[in-house]
Structures are given as structure tokens and as C-alpha cells.
Symmetry: C2
Subunit: 392 residues, 2 copies
């Protein structure tokens, strides 16, 4: 199996490509091109070797992983959820009578799977994350996967103390950390077919799985949805995922003003590291939302002001920081149960080429508390350069 | 000469490439690649055939034009002027003792040249514009070029009634139109070497050429420059060009808050037609300017609010317009002296692939007043699509 990517072992490689392509129902030429163009790469977790689809390739979703065992077991990536810009028009166009509304949590999308008797947590991008895997084992009842190993639990890791998106959630409070898992989909691992809302709810209850609770409304009753969105916005929540109760249509997402502005604050804080497409898309969402809400002149001005502040204030704060010699960075406080757990995760970040520094490490009894910061080099360097007078 | 680009006439093509490459001191292979990659294209004006460099190629500036006469006469493109993000630091870094400050006009960069006894106006991009050429002949004394045919007059076409940037200038008021020319540089057509500030001023006066008036300050006296910038900002002017009085160093530009916000308003009005790099660059300029001005919290909030309004209000207005069936477009009112002049310019726009519609045409005695609108299809189509419920 080790020779899979060695050029000297061309015959074995061809054979494996044949087998995987059959398994995934993907043309072997496309698969080979995927390897060549590094869309598919090989990783390893606890001696389990697997392939990761870094981008969508034909019908194979981004984040799909294929284990390099005899059976080439694979787990589909979580599909991209498209966004409604005009809520009512999109619901009319894409949905039938009823809509299930679920809160969109501001965390990190993960799939929890069982493979060769081990529970594993897979990131959106298709990597087995050692940190998340350990926390899942610690906090989540996974007996469900013992009974249904061909299913995946798709959900969100939330809370202040995770390495991807640190956002405090009161419901994620634990003994010494703020972290939790909320499942929103049950999907067949090979077909990606999701269970209906009623079926998944039944199973969540039976197996005591913490989950996002859907509210079913009539499509005509859109005012109820706007009420929910207003409440979410007031409570600084992210938004909603809208689903067909039978899951026959693809889900949609829609986010609050709070989210748009918060995203922009983060984007302009790391001014030159976050893509400008990210910024632009958040700005225009505000336009459509204001229009759809038929806002008054005063409400429009209010939104314009909030937008301006979200963009401008974090940006000048970063310029001020860099002028004082402070490097632009995003920091996370993480808790590990042991030194090997900590080292394993550091090693994982290194393999993923994430530029980090460890700001502090504190032993708290059996627990290790670490402050890790992701470095934003482009922001720091570019601002420094302009402060020194270099031209654009 | 007509066979220059016909593949059947390879030998003649090679010969011409040799001659031009010698003339421009450019490697013939680079020149050939320029043709292949369509960086260099052929145009025609009044039976004068010329090549246009659409991008900078090695040392040949974008906008350079080469006439296809026996001598391959050429005129260098106007060089890109770099921008200071931090004014003081950039002046310290790039300038010597004295600085000439010139107002940056909000119009359209043109070069006025004399070729084969005819006065021609060349756009920044390197096209001979029939509209501008006619207006130059009408409004500008060009005896200077009779005496110095190897020089170029580089300047700005300003005013409400030009087809590129319509911005009212009181000083551009004419009989029936608002249009004027202000020269800011005299350059040698083949070397692009600019005349010093004192030399150009002397010639401007002697030949009665309307021009931008420089103010010379000591580099240490930057407060004077900030005063000028504040006044320009209050008067809704664009900014300044900073030059070494001897023109030994490259000029720099710096713009006002008014310009940043005004640019953003235009960019977000034509939401999906203007590049997001354009938007991003204007936003960050505001950050550096606020920082360099050491603004108070109140001033920062004020700038944030202005920024937000500049982005948000034009954007929702465009969404509202499109929702009412109004196409996103930018309109210009132009005056022509005759029907052939009008038709010639329409033909020119067609050749340049500018999508336009003629909204109205009015005969005013000997003058024709035409309202021409440039259509922004991406903005109209994309907004329409989202309004219909299509997802992002």
C-alpha cells in the first residue's frame, strides 16, 4: 500500500486507481488527473492511510475521504449549502409546502464517522482532526454509530476553545472548557443521502445525540421565519439553514446582519490575509437584506453606519497595532488531556502548513491549557511596508 | 503595409518586427510575443495606421503608440504614477528637499501630439480618440507643437461633457458645454523624459497653454501640504500629484477622503461591473489616511460612517432600480459639431467594444447634443437573477 504514489510502482498505482474509480463511480482518467493536479492527496492518522479530495471533482464532493484499506471505504464530503440572497423569492423557487428551519451555528463543520471500530472526526476539508476526534470521544455519545456504521453524523463543533472558530456559546459550557457538538444531519456515508427531518429527530432522541432543533413552518408563513431571524440577529447569532422536511430538495442558508458585519470585522482585521471576495460577498448581502426588508431611510442609514464601522474600525486597529510592532494574529485557547495529545495536534497543524506560534502553555493538573496563535503574515508585512513609505 | 498581420505575408511581417524592435530597443522575440498575445494591436485613425501597446511590455509603457509610417514614429505612453499610502513616510523615502504640488484633476489622462502635420489626442490606453482630438483642436492653442513636434503635451480632459469621466468643473465652462484641457507635463515623445517644473511653466506661459499650477514647498513643511489636501477635500477635489521640481524622481499621487468615498459610491453603484480590487484599494486608503492624520475616536467614527454610506446607499439604490426594471447604466451628455463627427465617435466606441445605447439626440442649431449611456450588464443581470430567487 505504501507504494501508491511512488512513480517506480506504476502498475500497482494503476490497479489502485482502477479499484477506487470503480468504487467511487469516477472515470479512472479523472481520478489520475486529480492525483496529478494535487486535488487528491494522501494523509495518515494513527496508521490509517486515507485520500482526501481537496476540491469537488466531478460528482465527488470536496472533503470526501477514501481509506486505503482493502475495501477502499469512503465517506462523502458535506455538500456546499447555497445561499439565498432574497429569502422569499428563493423559498418560492426552491421549496415546496413546508420548510424546516434550523439555527446555523457559528462553529466548524465536522463529520463523525466510525471506521475500523474507531470513532473519527473529519473536517469540512476532509482531514481527520486529532483535536476534534479526541473531544468527540470525550463529549459525545456515539453508540449510534455502533448500530449504524454506514451513516455519518454531520454537525458543528462550537465554542470558545476549538482551534477553528472561537465563538462563545453558553450551551457549550463544560467543566473547564467551552466546547460542544451539535449534530444537524444524518447521511449515508457512500451516497450522501440525508435522513428526513423526522427520522433524524427520532434517532437523535433515541441515542441521546445533542442536535440542532428544527422548527417546521408553512412556506406561506414567511413572517414566522423573519421573526426567528430578527431574534437570532438581536442575540448575535449566525442565521438559519432551511430544509425540505423530507430532505428532497437541497438546503439553503441565510444569515443575519450581525453575521455579515461580524465577518467583515474579522476580514478587515486581517486586512490582507482574507480574500477580497469574502469581503465583497458580505457587503452585497447587506444590500439585498435591506432591500427585502423594505427598510426606511433611517434604517438604511443605520445599516450603512454599522457596515462602515465593521469595516473601518478593525482595519485601523490593525494598522495601529502593526505600527506598534504587534504582529497580526488570531489566538485560540485550547485544552489538551495529555502532552502526547498536544504534540499530536501541533504535528497535525504543521502538516497542514498552518503558520502558528505558541504563546503560552500552562499545566492545570492533568490538563494542559495552550494559547496558540495563527500568524497573518501578509497583513503584518504589507502594513509595515506602507508605514515605511513604500508605495502601492 | 496592409499585410502586416496577414499570416500569408510572413516575410514582410518579420521585416517590420525587426524595424520596430530596433526603433523601440525591444527584443524582436518580445515584440512578436506581444503581437501573439494581443498586447499589441493595430488601429486606424483617418488613414493613419498605428500600433497600440495595451499593456506595459518590458520598458515600453502601456499606451505607447507606433505609427506604421516609413519611420515608425512612436509616442511613449504616460507612465503609471504610484500612490503614497503614508504621505510623510513616502515623501521622506522618495523625495529630496523640495516638492512641487499639483492638483490631481478628476478627468481623463490624454496626450496631445503632432504627427504628420495633424494634432491628435491619444488616450491613456493608447488610442487616438476622435472626440478628444476634435475638442483639442477647438479649445486648445497648439502652436507649441508646431515648434516642438518631438514633445507631447500630457494633461487631463475635464468637465461634465466628455465621454470618459463626467465631473463638473467651473473652470471648464464653455459656450454650450463643460469641457476643458489642463496640461501638467511636457515630455519627449520617444524617451518619455519630462521637462522640469520651471521649464514647463515657462513654455506654458509663452504658448498660452492652460495648465495645472504647481506650488513648490520644502519637504520639511509637510503641514502646508496637509492644508492643501484639507482644502481640496472640503472642495470635493481629487487630490495631489507630488513631483520633484527637476523631475528626477518619479511623481507620486495622494488622494482625498472625498475621492475615496466618491470612487466607492461609483463602484458600488455598478456593483458587479467594477472590479473588487478597485473597491478594496479605496477602503484601505481610508485606513491609512485616518491613521496618519491621528484622528480622534469621533473622527474615526465619522469616517467609518461616511465609508459605510458611500458603499451601502448607492448599492441599494441600484438594487431598487433593477427591481423596477431600470437597467444599470452610466450616462454622458456630449456635444458634436456635425453629424459625421457624431457618427465617427459612435464607430470608435463600437470598435472599442463599449456597450452603449443612445438615449436621446437633439439638434441645437449647428450643434448635436447626444445622451449616450454605457450599459452595465453584469450588474443588471446578476441583481435581476438574485431578485428572482437564484442562489449564490
Amino acid at each position: 500500500m505504501n507504494g501508491l504514489f511512488s512513480k517506480t510502482n506504476n502498475k500497482e498505482f494503476k490497479e489502485i486507481v482502477q479499484k477506487i474509480s470503480k468504487r467511487l463511480n469516477l472515470n479512472p482518467n479523472d481520478l489520475e488527473k486529480g492525483f496529478e493536479r494535487k486535488i487528491i492527496t494522501k494523509y495518515e492518522y494513527n496508521d490509517k492511510k486515507y485520500l482526501c479530495f481537496k476540491k469537488k471533482l466531478r460528482h465527488i464532493e470536496r472533503g470526501t475521504i477514501v481509506f486505503l484499506n482493502d475495501n477502499f471505504d469512503y465517506f462523502c464530503g458535506y455538500p456546499k449549502i447555497k445561499r439565498a440572497m432574497m429569502l422569499k423569492a428563493s423559498l418560492d423557487k426552491y421549496f415546496d409546502k413546508k420548510i424546516a428551519i434550523e439555527e446555523k451555528l457559528d462553529g466548524y463543520n465536522i463529520r463523525i464517522i466510525k471506521f475500523e471500530d474507531e470513532i473519527l472526526a473529519v473536517t469540512r476539508g476532509g482531514k481527520i482532526c486529532p483535536f476534534t476526534t479526541k473531544k468527540v470521544k470525550k463529549y459525545l455519545k456515539t453508540t449510534f454509530l455502533d448500530d449504524y456504521p454506514n451513516l455519518m453524523l454531520c454537525g458543528e463543533m462550537i465554542g470558545l476553545n476549538n482551534p477553528y472558530v472561537n465563538q462563545y456559546y453558553i450551551e457549550a459550557e463544560k467543566d473547564y472548557e467551552n466546547l460542544g457538538f451539535y449534530i444537524f444531519d444524518i447521511r449515508e456515508r457512500e451516497t450522501n443521502i440525508p435522513y428526513s427531518i423526522s427520522k433524524k429527530e427520532e434517532l437523535f432522541k433515541k441515542y441521546e445525540i445533542p442536535h440542532v432543533k428544527p422548527i417546521i413552518i408553512d412556506k406561506k408563513d414567511i413572517s414566522k421565519l423573519w421573526e426567528i431571524l430578527n431574534t437570532l440577529n438581536e442575540n448575535k447569532k449566525e442565521g438559519v439553514i432551511l430544509k425540505d422536511p423530507e430532505m428532497l430538495m437541497e438546503p439553503l442558508k441565510y444569515t443575519t446582519q450581525h453575521t455579515q458585519c461580524n465577518d467583515l470585522s474579522i476580514a478587515f482585521k486581517y486586512t490582507y490575509d482574507i480574500g477580497i471576495d469574502f469581503m465583497f460577498s458580505r457587503i452585497v448581502r447587506e444590500g439585498y437584506q435591506s432591500f427585502e426588508m423594505s427598510e426606511s431611510k433611517e434604517e438604511e442609514l443605520n445599516r450603512a453606519e454599522k457596515l462602515g464601522k465593521s469595516i473601518f474600525l478593525p482595519m485601523i486597529q490593525t494598522i495601529k497595532d502593526v505600527s506598534e510592532g504587534i504582529t497580526s494574529k488570531e489566538c485560540f485557547e485550547l485544552f489538551f488531556e495529555s502532552e502526547p495529545d498536544f504534540l499530536e495536534f501541533m504535528n497535525y497543524l504543521k502538516k497542514m502548513h498552518v503558520p502558528i506560534i505558541i504563546e503560552s502553555k500552562e499545566i492545570m493538573g492533568k490538563i494542559i491549557k495552550v494559547r496558540i496563535c495563527r500568524i497573518y503574515n501578509a497583513t503584518t508585512d504589507k502594513i509595515k511596508s506602507h508605514l515605511e513609505g513604500n508605495l502601492w
